[in-house]
Amino acid sequence: MNILKINNIKKNILKASHYGKEGHVASSLSIVDILFVLYDNVMNLSVDNINSDNRDYFILSKGHASLAHAAILEANKFITENELMSYCSHESILGGHLDKRKVPGVEASAGSLGHGIAISIGVALASKIKKIQNRIFVIVGDGECNEGTFWESMLLGANHNLDNLYCIIDYNRSNDRALKLDPLGEKLTAFGWNVEVIDGHSHAEIIRSTNNNLPGKPKAIIANTVKGCGIKEMENNPAWHHRTPSKEELKEMIKELS
């Protein structure tokens, strides 16, 4: 059942990108499983409680994967199908990076890398200050881990014992060509985070890793993922980093997902 839902979300990502002639499709497909599980099984977050102080928070720090977030928001009734399919058109509420002031369910406007993770530190600290028992989930890209503010945030999260914060690193290794991060787990452990390495496409592992943490420590989940997951032509193919499918390609890709 879930596979049908997941494939439908992926189809919507491809269609919206095709219609809008914009989008980082491969980066989006990399995190569909994680987003689906967070919204479906893990977070206390829905259209019904989005204004509640006690809700869980989700922040997409790797903002260029906006298509995945938009498609998940559509699947969870935050936005309509028409809004999703208007992606990046002039009057759309959806741009290539989502704007919190336009899109319901978006907590922080991301785009420049290394911002969302530090914002999530502030949201997690605010929950501690207000003594709210909620959780904050943030997805960062591996390329984003190049930014100094990512490492500053690692210092801050551990220093303030933010055990309500779950930082999921979309480790699709697209950044290895520039700046290798390994051994990433050892580095984050040394920074004082509770680290777990998972298969970022395994729903069971995503659920397990996001439902346990050590008291007093923020959690880093290194999710091994495949960029472009689900579309053979796109998987780990850098040509697809910022490319949208043509009419013919869309047809073939939809067939692949059916």
Binding site: A108, G114, H115, I119, T149, E152
Partner: protein, 293 residues
């Protein structure tokens, strides 16, 4: 003004449980009582200004009211993108309070100077910019403004005017009205302007809110000779007037910090004299303006 900042925030943190203070490991001893009494809302967050600004955005998303304080260049120039994207673009109510002004740390050299703070921030949409000229004015303006849910920059300075004025956020004050020359004096530079023009036939307008600029207060003077005196790189006020008018045909002159690195040391007064922001130098410029045909 730093002492007043401590007093003002001490009071607010007692009375408003939404207030959270973030210090950049600068002047921390002055905040020791707050750190002891309100440890859940007073943080010496560390020397990581970019993440501190983003973190403050996260606090504001959760409906708290952050106040971030450190030295001007580190808050404005180092964390500029965070101010632009995380605070202004997202429209979040964070208060940025800088110390050091243009060259209060004259002896420490150019890394600690920040005469570009106002012109830099003035280019970011949605930010409010306040330059108080007296500790009492800071207290007044901060209390008027701190919870208005908008990103606001307060520029504190070590020097101040002899007397405070009854300031209101977003409003200029016409201190005297006479003659054909109109001086717009910003914040702490007012004292030098008053000393320079006490026996001169000039209009003096006192400005503490740079953005949004109180254009209405100067409308009726636009056909006169206007001299803008700013204690930072010249230009933000003229830019804001220009944006309001769409074009500028009037007679405007500016006195401010020249757009050069200040590579001498000493103290603020030494630099004021060197660059012409002392009362004697200002008087010469005012007289030139009066005598200008």
């Amino acid at each position: 003004m730093r002492g007043q900042f401590v007093k003002t925030v001490s009071k607010l943190i007692q009375n408003d449980e939404r207030v959270v203070l973030l210090l950049g490991d600068i002047g921390v001893y002055g905040f020791r009582d707050m750190l002891t009494n309100y440890p859940q809302r007073t943080y010496n967050i560390g020397i990581l200004e970019q993440s501190t600004i983003s973190l403050s955005a996260g606090l504001a998303i959760s409906n708290l009211i952050p106040i971030v304080q450190t030295i001007a260049p580190f808050i404005v120039e180092r964390a500029l993108e965070q101010i632009k994207v995380d605070l202004c673009y997202q429209g979040l109510g964070v208060n940025l309070v800088s110390i050091g002004a243009s060259y209060d740390y004259a002896a420490l050299g150019c890394t600690h100077h920040c005469p570009g703070d106002i012109s830099t921030l003035n280019e970011i949409p949605a930010i409010e910019i306040i330059v108080p000229g007296h500790p009492d004015e800071f207290d007044e303006l901060f209390n008027q403004n701190y919870d208005n849910n908008k990103p606001t920059y307060f520029r504190l300075s070590e020097s101040n005017n002899n007397n405070s004025h009854a300031v209101t956020f977003g409003k200029n004050i016409i201190l005297q009205e006479k003659g054909e020359v109109v001086i717009i004096a910003v914040g702490p530079v007012l004292q030098a302007v008053l000393d320079a023009s006490c026996d001169l036939n000039v209009t003096i307008i006192y400005c503490t809110t740079i953005k949004p600029f109180d254009f209405n207060s100067i409308k009726k003077f636009l056909n006169k000779k206007i001299l803008i005196v700013e204690p930072y790189y010249s230009g933000p006020i003229l830019t804001n007037i220009h944006r309001e008018l769409g074009s500028i045909n009037g007679n405007f002159s500016m006195i401010g910090v020249p757009n050069n690195f200040i590579n001498k040391y000493g103290n603020k007064d030494d630099i004021d004299k060197m660059i012409g922001l002392d009362s004697e130098s200002i008087k010469i410029r005012v007289l030139e303006k009066i005598n200008e045909k």
